[in-house]
């Protein structure tokens, strides 16, 4: 997989989580600002009613949300409690249930009726003291109070307008009956005897807890948000661990590549591509190493070859001199006979050997050339003269301007010309023609050799410049390799080679006048 894809995938996870968190937190902010407002209004109501309260706390048990309010109520505040309920219920339009607790016990519970009002809720007879119910939007409280062990108070308080026609509410405690009247303010206008409180029953004052249960979208929403927060945390942790493992794999592979251990495979396409490229470089490196060592050995070999070549020169010189001497001592009639012809064989073969040795020495030459001003036309004359004598059936046509001077190693240039002419002579099946021309150029001298020989096959055009490659049946194939080395490497010259099989060969040498 591509690194970019991995990074995109990895970053998508925390981004999703962050977006979800932001989204839901924003929702919760809106929600909590609503809640703050409601709470403020609620507290104001409590204050107005002079109800003192200890605590106001919210317990969230998704999907249920319960708001607990601890209240200190006195009996004479029952009406206020009901007012409180009304106001409280109006504050929380989404309230589903309201419950009253005392001493950790659930005393009463109201739930919203279909029409929107709260109504009578289930009471646990053992533990409940009161039942608050609403009729047509008006609150009623029904209660039974275990005032002490000896008596049980049962009764109903109508804190809102009575049921039409009712005038009083009777409490039926275990021992005494207490009547609790409706406060005048709450009595319906038509109730003549409103406000008939006979006695204030010493209802257990003290700590009450009002529990408000909400069970709707906010609760679900809260749970949803929590779920998402947990999810986000998991995602971020997962992302982190994935990122760590990603980074480790990544750096491990990079380390491997950096230390040359390549081709081990792995999951990063870019690194694989890099490895493929690098393997090419490693190939080149090892090839270069081989080449360098082979060049070094070639250098050592070249040195030995040069030594051997030099050692051959003296015996050859002696044989040459001997042949010359014998030849010079023979009377003309003997010279023309078999003895003379055999002496010619010796002479020619010695010449061949000399050529080979000079080529070998040139190819293996370690010393730089010795540049001096030399005359190309004079060297050409010398060389042609040498071959004209040997190849009598070949027509040499020389068209050379006089005094074509260049700075060069004369002996090497002589060797180049000799090699080219020798090749041309050997390529011709007599009779044939070799045209040699030399012309001055701007900063060079151009020498052209054209023969009517057999030419070089197209597929051999490249190889003939390599040593040991020859298209002829004899010779070691050093000739053109030597020409190339001397002209191109040692004299910064150019060789233009044209040949057509069966038609002939044309070689043009561009030899610079100066050597820098």
């Amino acid at each position: 997989m591509k690194i970019r894809t991995k990074i995109v995938l990895l970053s998508a996870l925390p981004v999703t989580a962050a977006l979800a968190a932001i989204f839901f937190s924003a929702g919760s902010l809106i929600k909590s600002s609503d809640e703050e407002l409601s709470r403020a209004r609620f507290e104001k109501t409590l204050k107005n009613m002079e109800v003192s309260f200890n605590e106001y706390f919210v317990i969230v048990r998704p999907p249920l949300r319960e708001t607990f309010v601890s209240l200190i109520l006195k009996l004479h505040e029952w009406d206020q409690l009901n007012t409180f309920f009304v106001s409280f219920a109006s504050l929380y339009p989404h309230l589903e249930r309201i419950a009253l607790h005392s001493d950790g016990r659930r005393l009463a519970e109201m739930s919203r009726r279909p029409e929107g009002s709260f109504g009578k809720a289930q009471i646990d007879p053992e533990t409940s003291l009161s039942n608050i119910f609403w009729v047509a939007g008006k609150p009623y409280v029904e209660f039974s109070l275990p005032a002490d062990n000896s008596r049980q108070v049962r009764g109903t308080i109508a804190v809102a307008p009575f049921i039409e026609g009712a005038e009083k509410l009777t409490l039926t405690p275990g021992g005494s009956v207490k009547v609790y009247s409706v406060p005048p303010a709450l009595a319906p206008s038509g109730a003549a005897k409103a406000g008939f409180v006979e006695k204030q029953y010493p209802l257990l004052g003290g700590l009450w807890t009002l529990a408000v249960m909400e069970e709707d979208v906010p609760g679900f929403y809260q749970g949803f948000r929590n779920a998402f927060l947990i999810f986000s945390v998991i995602v971020i942790a997962l992302t982190f661990s994935l990122a760590m493992s990603f980074a480790k794999n990544f750096t491990d592979r990079l380390d491997a590549v950096a230390s040359g251990r390549i081709g081990q495979g792995g999951s990063f396409d870019e690194i694989t591509a890099l490895e493929e490229k690098l393997s090419g470089f490693y190939d080149i490196k090892s090839k270069l190493k081989k080449q360098i060592s082979s060049q070094e050995s070639a250098g050592i070999l070249g040195h030995h070859v040069a030594m051997i070549g030099h050692e051959f020169r003296n015996p050859i010189a002696a044989i040459k001199n001997a042949q010359y001497f014998i030849n010079s001592q023979l009377p003309d009639n003997v010279k023309k006979g078999k003895i003379g012809r055999h002496l010619d064989v010796i002479k020619n073969e010695i010449k061949q050997i000399s050529f080979m040795i000079e080529d070998l020495l040139s190819l293996s030459r370690l010393k730089p050339p010795v540049y001096a001003l030399c005359d190309v036309s004079a060297i050409l004359d010398e060389c042609v003269e040498m071959f004209r004598h040997e190849y009598k059936l070949i027509d040499f046509e020389l068209s050379v301007k006089k005094n074509l001077r260049i700075k060069a190693d004369a002996s090497e240039i002589r060797q180049v010309f000799s090699n080219i002419i020798k090749n041309a002579c050997e390529a011709i099946t007599p009779p044939g023609e070799i045209k040699i021309s030399a012309t001055p150029e701007k900063s060079a001298v151009s020498v052209k050799f054209a023969d009517t020989g057999c030419g070089v096959p197209a597929d051999k055009m490249e190889e003939i410049w390599q040593p040991f490659i020859s298209t002829k049946s004899s010779g070691m194939g050093f000739g053109l390799a030597t020409v190339k080395k001397i002209v191109e490497e040692r004299h910064k010259g150019t060789i233009i080679f044209q040949s057509r099989q069966g038609a002939g060969t044309e070689i043009t040498l561009i030899l610079p006048r100066e050597q820098s």
Binding site: N314, Y324, F325, S411
Partner: protein, 120 residues
């Protein structure tokens, strides 16, 4: 009177064959196989030409040429070399104090140079 040539070369075959060729051309030839011998010979007689291999077992040909220059002027010396260092060769070629032939030496060419020197 025959012209005298001193041939200095440590290789017996080369020296002898060259000497015989020169003798066949009617020169009087004295042979020397080392630098020391060459100096002794040069001081002992008069020479019209000296042919010397620059590589000798005991000294260099150049030193011999310097040492015998009081008997034989440098322009009568033919030096033969296959080993000349490029510096020396360049200097020699430019100053042209003596004739320098590079190996392999063409016999005809050498005879031509000898003839030229002796006729000077």
């Amino acid at each position: 009177m025959k012209k005298r040539i001193l041939v200095v070369d440590d290789d017996f075959s080369v020296r002898e064959t060259l000497a015989d060729i020169l003798r066949s051309r009617d020169y009087e030839v004295v042979e020397a196989s080392s630098g020391a011998e060459a100096v002794v010979n040069a001081g002992a007689g008069k020479y019209d030409c000296v042919i010397i291999d620059l590589r000798l077992p005991d000294t260099t040909g150049l030193e011999v040429i310097e040492k015998i220059s009081c008997y034989v002027p440098k322009n009568k010396v033919i030096a033969i070399t296959g080993y000349a260092s490029s510096d020396m060769l360049a200097k020699t070629l430019e100053e042209a104090e003596f004739f320098l032939l590079l190996k392999p030496v063409d016999t005809e060419q050498m005879l031509a140079v000898v003839k030229k020197i002796i006729e000077q």
